[in-house]
């Protein structure tokens, strides 16, 4: 079974074709190995990086931007968002600080410094 995909790993967005035969996935159209890995994952276990924000409770109207350190299962994206909605942090927060550990398989880190 052939499946057409756009690779989302980098802005190039290569048009990929993943050919799924029994347990084998052959990938065409990737300009780099990451694209091949992406296509295989999309067919077997699709994952996504979530980038969002968390409220800084001791600052007025201030959010700190965060991301999942590693991509999480695609069908868990909204579960990650649910946890982030309930989370608050205290400033100062530094870029790289771990805000939460192991949410749906990934740590959540701050991507911005808020003093």
């Amino acid at each position: 079974m052939k499946r057409k995909l756009i690779c989302i790993i980098c802005p190039r967005g290569c048009s990929l074709c993943a050919d799924m035969q029994e347990n084998q996935v052959t990938v065409y159209g990737n300009a780099c190995p990451k694209g091949r890995e992406y296509a295989i994952n999309e067919c077997t276990n699709p994952v996504r990086t979530v980038t969002a924000t968390v409220r800084v409770f001791n600052r007025y109207n201030t959010m700190v931007s965060v991301k999942t350190c590693v991509p999480v299962a695609k069908d868990k994206m909204m579960d990650v968002m649910k946890v982030l909605r309930e989370t608050q942090v205290k400033a100062p927060v530094h870029i790289g600080d771990v805000i939460l550990k192991d949410i749906c398989g990934s740590d959540i880190v701050a991507t911005k410094t808020v003093y």
Binding site: I6, C10, P11, G13, S15, V50, A52, T53, S65, M78
Partner: protein, 414 residues
């Protein structure tokens, strides 16, 4: 009056990269002015990833990319006038600004314009209807959501399928809103295919091409929009009108280089790019005044902004140390298939020159030709070219010798 060698207006990615490059080229009296309390510019609200792959080899979020340059600025002790708004620039390089301390005037030897761009608004689009709350430019909604934590709406329609519109479609969905549709007036999307995949397809958000919004409804708060398909002259087709209930409309319909200061200073602006006319060092027609980043041309990748800003910073540092030194004037022109070419003038031919351009419409396989009269200086083949992705073609110095007349960049569909 305060004196500095180089004044940089804008502390976003362009301003920061220019400052670092100027400093490293030996001009250490360089200052950055920015209206925000912090550096980083528009990157601070671009919390998604995709930044830095070319330049830094890793995929960062906007704030993380900004942090790399902010650290570089801090390490060099480059002075930053924060919360400072520039109100005027003159051609003799006097920069007038204001901040908490009052009015500030800086006499510089060189100035770098790095003010970025602003968004096209509803008023510019002439969308009929009432003026309820709930109509935002996509960037404004992005700032409200990402920096301040507001929920700007619950049922969203987005006009414009450029990257900002697509990114906000995903963002709003992640924040619990229902994104009903993204409408795009052109028959193709202006955004990266990657963003169509990860922002729309991932969430089954429909993309309606050749569609626009013809009316806004709602008294105090937006209640819905009327969409319609458009014909090949981009005029709405009456019979295709359809009402979509919603409480939020995001407009992602174009970025305009923020050149009010440039215009007021009388620095010549190219009506196609909406940015200043520049040479290969990003120097404008006014000696000693440079422009880089989105204020010069709207970019898609911040990596190219940083590279462009480095050229400007280097150029400004050279100007400060050795003055006006432009003895060539080779004009560039956009030929078939090309909307614009930057720089518009090449002033020195000892080094290779990179030309930056955008095509007029989506093409498949193309061959770009850089020619001077009958002579073809260089060619470049691409598998595809779209208006939403800036192209770069390098012309080797050897081919720039003994040129008379303009250099034209055109393409041929293969």
């Amino acid at each position: 009056m305060v004196y500095h060698d180089i004044v940089i207006i804008g502390g976003g990615p362009a301003g920061m990269a220019a400052a670092v490059a100027a400093y490293d080229a030996g001009c250490i009296d360089v200052v950055i002015l920015d209206r925000e309390p912090h550096l980083g510019g528009i990157l601070m609200q671009c919390i998604h990833n995709g930044f830095g792959l070319h330049k830094l080899g890793k995929e960062l979020t906007g704030p993380e990319y900004a942090a790399v340059y902010e650290e570089a600025v801090r390490k060099r002790n480059i002075q930053v006038y924060a919360e400072t708004t520039v109100t005027a620039v003159s051609t003799d390089k006097i920069v007038t600004a204001q901040n908490r301390n009052g009015i500030l005037q800086i006499q510089a030897k060189a100035a770098i314009l790095a003010m970025g761009c602003r968004e096209r608004s509803r008023g510019a689009l002439n969308i009929c209807g009432s003026r309820p709350a709930g109509v935002y430019s996509a960037g404004t909604a992005q700032k409200l959501v990402n920096c301040m934590g507001y929920q700007v709406g619950k049922k969203v329609v987005i006009l414009g399928s450029g990257d900002i519109g697509l990114i906000m479609a995903r963002r709003m969905h992640w924040e619990g809103a229902k994104v009903e549709a993204v409408c795009e007036i052109m028959p193709y999307s202006g955004g990266l295919p990657r963003n169509i995949a990860q922002c729309l397809e991932d969430f089954d958000i429909p993309l309606y091409l050749s569609t626009t919004i013809v009316q806004i409804h709602g008294k105090k708060r937006l209640e819905g929009v009327t969409i319609a398909q458009v014909d090949d002259k981009r005029q709405p087709i009456e019979e295709t009108k359809r009402y979509i209930p919603c409480d939020t409309l995001l407009l992602s319909v174009g970025l305009i280089p923020e050149n009010e200061l440039t215009r007021s200073a009388g620095i010549p602006i190219d009506p196609i790019t909406n940015g200043a006319f520049v040479d290969e060092n990003c120097q404008t027609k006014i000696p000693g005044i440079f422009a880089c980043g989105n204020v010069l041309q709207v970019h898609d990748l911040v990596d190219y902004v940083s590279e462009e800003a480095e050229r400007a910073g280097l150029g400004a540092a050279k100007f400060v140390s050795s003055g006006e030194n432009r003895n060539h004037s080779i004009e560039t022109k956009a030929g078939y298939g090309v909307r614009y070419v930057l720089p518009q003038t090449i002033t020195a031919t000892q080094e290779d020159v990179s030309l930056f351009l955008r095509v007029t419409e989506p093409f498949g396989k193309v061959k770009f030709s850089v020619s001077n009269g009958e002579n073809i200086l260089t060619t470049a083949k691409k598998l595809k070219a779209t208006p939403g992705e800036m192209e770069k073609i390098t012309v080797k110095a050897a081919f720039l010798q003994n040129i008379t007349g303009p250099i034209t960049v055109s393409l041929e569909a293969l």
